[in-house]
Amino acid sequence: MAIPEPQFDELYRELILQHYRHPRNRGRLPGAALRAEGANPVCGDEVTIELEMNDGRIARAAFEGQGCSISQASASMLTETVAGKTVAEVRRLADAFERMLVNGEPPAPELGDLEAFQGVSKFPVRVKCALLSWKVLQRALEGAA
C-alpha cells in the first residue's frame, strides 16, 4: 500500500508563510478610534486590532499578537484587506471568510488573497486560529456608530 503524501501544503500556502514571516501593519495606531483584543485560550494565540476610522470607512488597521502562523498571517492579511472598506463591507467579508472556513464553501470573489486560507477548512482544529483576528475585528467594530 502506497503511503500518501502528507497534506499540509494546502494549509501552509506560500502567501500565508510570507505574512507570518513578514507581517504587515504590525504595531499600534496612535490615532486608533477602535480597538479590541482576543485570544484562543486553548492554544494561547493572541491578537489585538486597532482601527483608524474616516467617514464610516476603516482608514488604517494594525495588529499586535503572538501565536501560530495561521493566526498571525490571518491578522496580517486582514489589516491589508480591510483598509479603505466600509463597516458594512467588512462585515460581509468576515461572513464570507467564515463560511469558506467553517462550511468549506468555495471562496467568494471579494475575498481576494484571503482565499489562501481555504485549505485551513480541512484542518478543523486550526479554523479558530484563522478566525481569531476576524472575531476581534468584529468586536472592535461593535464600537463603530
Partner: protein, 416 residues
Amino acid sequence: MFDARAIRRDFPILERRVNGRPLVYLDNAATTQKPRAVIDALVRYYTTMNANIHRGIHTLAIEATEAYEAVREKTARFIGAEGYGAVVFTRNATESINLVARAWGEANLRPGDEIVLTVMEHHSNIVPWQLVARKTGAVLRYIDIDEEGHLLLEQARELIGPRTRLVTLVHASNVVGTINPVAEIAEMARRVGAVVLVDGAQSVPHMPVDVRALGCDFLAFSAHKMLGPTGVGVLWAAPGLLEAMEPFLGGGEMIAIVRPEESTWADVPHKFEAGTPNIADVIAFGAALDYLAALGMEHVRAHEVELTALAMERLRRLPGLTIFGPREPDARGGVLSFAIDGVHPHDVATIADSFGVAIRAGHHCAQILTRRLGQSATSRASFYIYNVPEEVEALAEALEHAIEVFRRGDSRAAVR
C-alpha cells in the same frame, strides 16, 4: 524481559493508521493508550458483575464490592503503602488535589499561613490553592527553577519556614521532565511541621514510587495516565490525616447515620467517596496495575530513559531546535518539550500529525512554567512502554519537514 515490541501487540489502537501512516503516539503525558486487558476488564465487569457496591446483599453486589476493594489494596501496594494510610478513589488527580485543598486546606489554613509550591506545577496544583488562599488569607510562595529546570533548593530552604503549613509539589514535571528531589524537600517541610502533598501524575505511571521513601503526607495521581480508564483518580493519605478531616462531598456511601439535623460519617476511606463511585473504571484500573506490576516499574523507567536519551541526541541535531529541562536523560521523565526557531508549536504539531505523529503543543496546563521558559507555548513528545526507537526517528523526520516548510517560506519571501 522488557520487550516494547511484544508490548505493542497488547494495544489494539496501535494498529491504527492516522493520515495514511502508522500511528506514532507520543502524547503519553496527556493520557496513555489502554492494553486489551484493561478494555476486557471493563467489558467483563459490565457483562458479568455490574451492581452497585457497598450496600447490596445479593451476589453481584458482593462480587463487585470485592473487586472494587481489591483494586484499592492493589493501588496501595503499587505505591508502597500496603497497610499504611488510605487510598481514596476520585475522578482524577485534579479532584484529589481539590479534595485536600478544600477538606484539609480550608480547615487548617489561617491568614498569613504559607503554602509553598513550585513554578513547575500543573494548573491542577496551583488553582485549587489559589482558591483556598482567597478564602483563608493564606499566601502562596513559589520555588523557582534554574536554567536547566532544576528546583532552586537554596531558595526552597529559605521559603520553607515557620509560617509554612503546606508544601505541595510535582514529582516529575509534565513539561520539562525534571524529577524533583521530593524526599529532600519533604524533610525540609517536616522540620517546620508542614504537610507535604506530591502530585505524582507524571511519576507513578513511569517509575517506582514509594510513599514512605518520598516522605509525603498526600500523593495524587490519575489512572488514565498509566494504562487505566479515564475517570479514576487516586488520593493516598498518610495515617491519621483523613480521619481528622471533614468530608469533601456529602451524600450516600460516605455516611454512618443520618438524622434530620446532623449525620455521622463513614470510616476512612469511604468518608471521602460520596455517591456511587466509578466502579467499572476502578476495576479496570486494577488490570492496568497488574499489567505494569508484571513489567516491573524499574524496567518501565529504564525503557523510558533509553528512549529519552535517544530522542534528545537525535533532536539536538535539528537546526534551531531547543530542548527544555535537564540535560541528563536520567534526571528526567520521558517528557521532551522543545521549541523550534521560527516554527510555532501548533504548526509543528499539525505537520507532525500529517505524518501520523501525535504530539502536544501549547502551555501543557503549566502557564507559569511556560512563561518562565520565555515561551508562550512549546511542543512536547512524551514516551511510554510501547514506544520504540523507530518512532523517535519518525518524530525527527516529521520535525525536519516542519523546519523545511517554514524555511522555504522564509527564503522565498526574502528573495522578493
